[in-house]
């Protein structure tokens, strides 16, 4: 029974990946909105874009990590 509950918990923890997807979408969408207003400044900011995406994604990775721990370590 406990193992099954851990699997349910892993599924709930995986919802965090979806939340991270919202965050990544916000970053990319706002970058695009800014880039279309000032296209000449957009080229120099792609590194910032990817760093922002990586940091937003990191929290989704923690949710994934919790899911993995529940699946295999608990």
């Amino acid at each position: 029974m406990e193992g099954e509950l851990a699997h349910i918990g892993a599924g709930i923890a995986a919802l965090g990946s979806g939340a991270a997807a919202i965050g990544v979408g916000t970053v990319a969408g706002n970058f695009l909105a800014g880039a279309l207003r000032n296209p000449s400044a957009a080229g120099g900011q792609t590194a910032t874009l990817f760093i922002g995406i990586a940091f937003a994604e990191a929290l989704g990775i923690f949710a994934f990590l919790v899911a993995l721990l529940l699946m295999f370590a608990v």
Partner: protein
Amino acid sequence: MADDAKAEGSALEFHPMDQFVVKPLFGDGDVGLFTITNVTLWMALAVVAITALMVLGTRGRAIIPNRSQSIAELAYGFVYKMVEDVTGKDGVVYFPYIMTLFLFIIFANFLGLVPMAFTTTSHIAVTAVLAMAVFLSVTIIGFVKNGPGFLKLFWVDAAPLPLRPILAVIEVISYFVRPVSHSIRLAGNMMAGHAVVKVFAGFAAVAAISPLSVLAVTAVYGLEVLVSAIQAYVFTILTCVYLRDALHPHH
């Protein structure tokens, strides 16, 4: 798990995670510390491919570069500009290390896309070593360059005084969590993408949906090529960001 799927009459001919099994290259003994496995083979192939591109490609030193020399120069210039832009002039000393990381990860990712290949970067054991090497070297560089002043990284001067201890705790946690997210990001993306390709490939066994399945595999494969390049880029640029923090710990 694979047996369960078959027992329930599922259409899956093979389990999508079978491709990530580490097995010995010769014989079928246990995998020990020094066993030559498929991971060893594909890592060695990545190193051979990089050497072929960078050493043999640039051997001619032609003024008008041929194809392989153009690619080698493009890769060199791309990483050099990234290191210079993100870490500044004093970070260029560490360019060879970052170039090595970038080339190894992008070649391992691309070689993993070859059919029947093994994706070495899909294993947390591989990416964790890369990420821990970055984490340890960045921490050591930070203390060597700045002495105890490196701890200023955790003490945010820009914040109001009552907030600073709380921020310091958060900064310390986020600092030590870096290698975790750094390694799992790469391994997770590689593993998930390749598993998705195999899941769609498994549907090809059902005659009714096999044309759709082939289309889906093609589309996901195209996406995976993009993801392979982007994840190598992200890993490298995060290394540059961590290095910048070590060289200039003042916010």
